[in-house]
């Protein structure tokens, strides 16, 4: 079976498993998968930004928080039905992403990383400062979401399917984005900005645009995540969250759509398993697993997948995207165009 036919079949299996899942696991597990699905949306957003367009962000937790609060405030103060708060959260975050994307145009690699890091650090403080709106340190509670009677589902299953549906939609949209003109433009920008510009790619439009889209994804993910948890406070969005997103995109595979799924599952489940093995050494285990993952699968899980299926003919486009991802990032001030090969030290 060629790779081309393998991919939809693989996705089909994933979807099938996802649909059957909530009928076989208890509410706690289903809740975990719901949260993983919400995280996957945010992780996908970050992958669009980092993996495809090469703009590094250490501050995605900030957009996640913004979406979460936008949704929570809409629900509790404005009485908006929770589903409608998703586009609200998305719009608010898209705007924020746009605003952050503007100065980001002038920054590369390390420096963009630092600025976004700063945004992530400032987030809990700003939440606390704006306590009239956000409830500050007391946090905000959301009413429990109940399944409508016609669905015949339990509450946790209903919420899972809602999240899954939104995630599926957003994954499909992202898939179309990256396979088309937009995706190729992004990859061109990431790999060689100067060359891309000479080929007529409007750098500013694409770079800011992907920032906005990426932020929107994070915001919707944040809203869904928080709806599932039912409570949010400044402590819910620490710096560690932004780092977790970054880890997720690398573990899953940069510049891949499917990678976001694996990455989200990783950051949702592995810390729990690490703590189960030994509470006291949980961090050691988790950190160790992360490091080992990087040794064994530097291209992420999707990298492994591609290697396995690479004996078959591969379509162009996204594989080139993955091949160059990460290579042109970070490190220096203006190395977006310079060839900065890092060779394995002997």
């Amino acid at each position: 079976m060629s790779a081309k036919r393998l991919r939809p079949a693989a996705w089909g299996v994933v979807v099938l498993l996802a649909v059957l899942l909530p009928f076989f696991f208890n509410a706690y597990r289903v809740g975990q998968f719901t949260q993983a699905a919400a995280l996957a949306i945010a992780v996908l957003g970050l992958n669009l930004l980092v993996g495809y367009s090469g703009q590094i962000s250490l501050g995605h937790g900030a957009f996640f928080a913004l979406g979460a609060y936008a949704s929570a405030i809409s629900i509790t103060d404005l009485g908006v039905p929770y589903l409608l708060t998703l586009p609200i959260a998305g719009a608010v975050c898209a705007l924020a992403g746009f605003l952050l994307g503007l100065p980001a145009l002038r920054l590369r690699g390390l420096y963009l990383a630092l600025v976004t890091l700063g945004v992530a650090i400032a987030t809990p403080q700003i939440i606390k400062r704006a306590d009239g709106l956000t409830g500050g340190t007391q946090g905000m509670s959301l009413d429990k979401i109940t399944a409508p009677a016609w669905s015949g589902l339990a509450d946790d299953q209903w919420l899972y399917f809602v999240t899954l549906a939104v995630a599926a939609l957003m994954f499909v949209v992202a898939g179309f984005l990256v396979r088309g003109r937009v995706g190729r433009a992004l990859v061109a920008i990431r790999d060689n900005e100067i060359a891309a510009r000479t080929m007529g790619v409007d750098l500013a439009r694409f770079k800011i645009g992907v920032f906005a889209v990426s932020a929107m994804y994070a915001g919707v993910g944040g809203a869904l995540f928080t709806i599932s948890i039912g409570f949010l406070a400044p402590e819910s969005f620490p710096l560690a969250l932004s780092f977790a997103f970054l880890a997720a995109i690398v573990v899953g595979g940069l510049a891949t759509i499917g990678g976001a799924l694996f990455g989200a599952l990783f950051i949702e489940f592995v810390p729990v398993y690490a703590a189960d093995v030994d509470e006291a050494l949980a961090g050691v285990i988790y950190g160790g697993v992360l490091i080992l993952f990087m040794y064994l699968l530097p291209g992420g899980v999707m990298g492994l997948v591609r290697r396995i299926s690479s004996t078959k003919a591969t379509p162009r486009g996204t594989d080139d995207a993955q091949a160059g991802a990460g290579h042109r990032l970070g490190g220096g001030a203006a190395d977006a165009g310079a060839a900065r090969e890092r060779v394995r030290a002997q």
Partner: protein, 408 residues
């Protein structure tokens, strides 16, 4: 790849409970988590992250349960206490609560730590009718409206009670005190500050300056300088151990010599006073409600010896001098008593037992009881005693002071 994925998914879970669709929790018949042989308790603590110093509480609690089990348990039932890490993040606390209730099927949650974390789970637990007993935070929320969350109770004297005691101390000893306050910018700090401001209203004591800090701040020098410059003669220090130490050290190096009132959470001799140097801590006032493991006053006390011996035996990695360990031990002892007094092996019976408690616990100071009364008194411990540091040890002063959080 497909096989890999399937395997991964299946490996990560166990089957769905038989009680129809989701929602878990207490169904009809006997309550989950309790059998003739065993009681399962669960707790969520910050074993990692910025608040990891508090994990010592879990150690103390485990030592107590192990001790009780070694004597045969409660009514022949051994207590198993499952603790999970939440890194002080509310979403993780929620996940832990759900796991404990739905997957681990515990009888009750005990002593989960942190105000935001407990706020994140109390709606859920009360809906599921799972006891959220003796939470490890002093927020006044837990007892303020019993009817709204009947399955949740606090344990330690809440911050408003504590603040009132400080206010009373000043009203008696320094009528026109000008107070500068340093407080942690979260629920804990604001609760204590609010309680203090409320309690001094109408008296000669005034707050002339207040500064907050974040747990992510590396230093608090500028806050202390500002407070020193306010002309205050009294300093109310509402901080957690690391910052209590920083505050004391900074003041010691300056020429501001106020009357220093330190809140109970930051009063640990081991974690705070020893690092700053005992001579710098002389004269500091604080309060307490349980026996100080670091104080020679209780060295021969039976309860103290029992505590120290058993912590060494069952939790050798824990530090018995750490007041947080003693806290966990004592709170767990209260839980044991509540379980012992339970009339039936049900969650509702446990809550009845808790809400009608009136008992002494050996590690609490003499004169301090755990006393609750249904809806009219939702606070287990509402008394503390002032103590002053004499340069070597904390010395208890005066009598136990009762200060109800609610004056109705």
């Amino acid at each position: 790849m497909v096989a890999l994925l399937t395997l991964a998914l299946l490996a990560s879970g166990c089957g769905r409970s038989d009680e129809g669709g989701g929602g878990g929790g207490g169904g009809g018949g006997s309550d989950p988590g309790i059998t003739d042989k065993e009681i399962k308790l669960g707790g969520s603590y910050p074993f990692s992250g910025p608040a990891s110093a508090y994990r010592a509480i879990a150690d103390g609690a485990k030592a107590q349960f192990d001790f009780v089990n070694s004597k045969g348990g409660v009514d022949g039932r051994k207590i198993s206490f499952q603790t999970l890490d939440d890194a002080y993040e509310p979403p993780k606390a929620v996940a832990n609560a759900r796991r404990l209730v739905e997957q681990e099927q515990v009888f009750a949650l005990f002593n989960t730590l942190g105000t935001p974390n407990n706020l994140a789970i109390w709606d859920y637990l009360n809906q599921q009718k799972v006891p959220q007993a003796f939470v490890a935070t002093g927020a006044s929320s837990w007892g303020a409206d019993v009817a709204s969350h009947p399955y949740t109770t606090g344990w330690q004297p809440n911050y408003v009670t504590e603040a009132k005691i400080y206010a009373d101390y000043l009203k008696k000893n320094k009528e026109n005190a000008k107070v500068a306050v340093l407080y942690q910018n979260d629920g804990f700090g604001k609760d204590l500050l609010g309680g203090f401001e409320g309690a001094i209203e109408g008296s000669g004591v005034q707050v002339v300056a207040k500064e907050s800090y974040e747990v992510t701040d590396p230093t608090i020098t500028s806050q202390i300088r500002k407070l020193a410059g306010s002309g205050a003669d009294t300093f109310l220090n509402i901080t957690t151990p690391k910052f209590s130490a920083l505050a004391i050290a900074t003041i010691a190096k300056s020429d501001w010599k106020p009357l220093h009132i330190l809140n109970n959470v930051g009063a640990s001799k081991t974690l705070v006073l020893k690092p700053v140097g005992f001579e710098n801590a002389k004269g500091i006032i604080s309060t307490t409600y349980f026996k100080d493991p670091d104080s020679p006053e209780w060295a021969d006390d039976e309860a103290m010896k029992e505590y120290k011996d058993n912590v060494k035996k069952f939790e050798p990695r824990a530090n018995p001098s750490d007041s947080f360990t003693a806290y966990g031990w004592t709170a767990a002892a209260t839980m044991v008593k509540a379980l012992d007094d339970m009339k039936e092996p049900t969650r509702d019976a446990l809550m009845d037992s808790i809400r009608s408690m009136d008992t002494e616990i050996p590690m609490l100071l003499p004169g301090i009881n755990v006393k609750m009364d249904g809806e009219s008194d939702g606070y287990p411990i509402e008394a503390m005693q002032i103590m002053e540091f004499d340069g070597e040890n904390w010395k208890l002063q005066g009598d136990v002071i009762e200060a109800a959080a609610q004056d109705e």
